[in-house]
């Protein structure tokens, strides 16, 4: 992907007293991509999103969208951004339609017709009912209808599928893809890894307020995992053009990552004396577990010891 960075953070930090919610986050999100944010509760995802919207003041560092400072020029930023909060609270005394109209009016009335159509026809909501009569999932559908109807460049979705049934989840993923095809940039924060994996162009993994890793999902989709048992001793190094990375080494057995062309790899394998070979893929869960699984390295513990 070659498109320019639309959203950028530089050493973005947020502390509350002694507690650091976000630590020196530096990342770029490109125009027109779906950018996934992954991490357990308390990893700093929502703090990041609230800093982007100017709801929180950064302790240090800076976040910009289209070059606009997210704190100092928050109003201009919010003209370009639509936000779906993770913890959705609504005015229960309003009808669904009145709430859509009110929130659309806060954006000069733009997008109301599309929001009503999405809510009624796609989300199957009865907009005449009071919002207090809606279930949690229905409220989320209402908010999603509004978010996807806003005429904005950036969609920030904080756990957009958390309360939805499976068919509605599929619909949301379709809408995310549609938004990308229309040139919108989507920040997709979530816990459901297959969903994030299905729609994201890149994924950032956060842990305790730190950015641990950014994964290019297009490259990942061409990733192969090779488990090779060599007959003789394991080669000390591999030809660079194969783009092989050693993940694990165990006597005569190697677990390798391969991101390159398949032809040179097969040619190289043909030259090796191999007892056994397995080729597979790796889902996002495996990557996530490297930072959050039971065997994840606690870099802070290592540093402190």
């Amino acid at each position: 992907m070659t498109s320019k960075a639309l959203l950028a953070t530089r050493d973005l930090t947020k502390t509350y007293g002694d507690f650091t919610a976000l630590r020196q986050l530096t990342l770029d999100v490109r125009q027109g991509e779906v950018f996934g944010l992954l991490g357990p509760n308390g990893s700093g995802k929502t703090t990041t999103l609230r800093l982007l919207l100017g709801l929180l003041h950064p302790t240090s560092g800076q976040a910009t969208i289209f070059g606009l400072d997210c704190w100092r020029q928050s109003l201009q930023v919010r003209r370009l951004v639509s936000y779906l909060p993770g913890e959705l609270r609504m005015y229960g005394s309003m009808s669904g339609l009145a709430l859509l109209r009110f929130l659309s009016d806060l954006r000069e009335g733009d997008g109301l017709d599309r929001a009503v159509a999405l809510a009624e026809q796609v989300m199957q909501l009865n907009l005449r009912k009071k919002v207090r009569a809606y279930s949690t999932g229905m409220k989320q559908k209402l908010a999603l209808a509004l978010a996807f109807s806003d005429p904005v460049d950036v969609l920030i979705l904080d756990e957009p599928t958390s309360s939805l049934d499976p068919s509605a989840r599929g619909e949301v993923l379709r809408l995310v893809r549609e938004a990308r095809s229309l040139g919108q940039t989507v920040i997709f924060s979530g816990h459901v890894l297959p969903e994030v994996e299905a729609v994201s162009d890149r994924v950032a993994i956060l842990r305790r307020g730190r950015l641990m890793h950014i994964e290019d999902m297009h490259a990942r989709r061409s990733l192969r995992m090779l488990l090779i048992k060599f007959a003789d001793k394991v080669p000390a190094e591999f030809p660079a053009e194969l783009e092989l990375t050693v993940r694990e080494r165990n006597d005569q057995t190697l677990l390798l990552e391969h991101r390159g062309q398949i032809g040179p790899l097969l040619h190289w394998l043909d030259m090796m004396t191999i007892l056994d070979l397995a080729i597979g893929t790796e889902d996002l869960h495996s990557l996530y577990d490297r930072f959050h699984g039971p065997d994840a390295i606690d870099e802070e513990m290592v540093m402190s010891s």
Binding site: R50, L55, L56, R78, E87, R89, S93, F102
Partner: protein, 278 residues
Amino acid sequence: MKPFFALLRKHVHDTRGTLLLSAAALFGLGWLFVFVTSLNETEILRVLSSETENNRFRWLRNMGLEEQPPSVSIMMSFWSHPLIISIIAMWAIGRGSSAVGAEVERGTLDLILSRPVSRASYLLTHVLMAIFGLFFVALALAVGAGIGAHYNYLRVPIAFWTLVKPALNLAALGLPIYGYTLLVSAVDHVRWRATMIGSAVTLAGFIAWVVSVIPVLQKYTWRVYLERVSIFKLYNPVDDVSTGESLLFNLAVLAAIGAGCILLSFLAFIRRDLPANG
């Protein structure tokens, strides 16, 4: 301007019940106090007509009066009734505490401030609605009294415009109460604390004023300090309809305290962090 008016419309929608109830209560109290004044005057007239000139004079002196007071002054003495002050204070504290603290606590502030609405314009709509409500409710008292005066006998007829001055004074009394409650709400993330602090400060001010006017305590020097710290000293409806000398000063001081607190609220709210919810 559409977002601004959308917010104003919402505030009107949210508060219309409380506003109408408060206005109806003060309208009724205004009428009631005219009725009570009328009964008082009838009783005074009955007593005075049955006495000799000397006895009439003695009777008035016993009441602490030099001459029979005009009807409006008798009526205005009722306008300092705690019920009237409570209604104004409840509106001011209710609106002040709901502006920010309650919205953060409910988590609904995100819905509004994630849209292209500036924090200043959001708070301004709240302030405008609250001030409109204060004047609307206070005016309802004057309207109730004005209409009541048409249907009850008063020795000295009252012009409606005479009643507007104490009504303005009453509305202005609500400004500092709203102001300091809003200030707490603007920096907090729950409603109850702003309500509690607003109520406590208002009650303390009212008690200080009540204690400062108790006749047997006039000789104590600390009484003056109590009087000075209470905003209730600046609400004087009897003076407003008689000499009216201090009305402008009282209005100015009350408005200045209210405006100062509101200004501080803006400064605090614009700079603060907005957590997801309370």
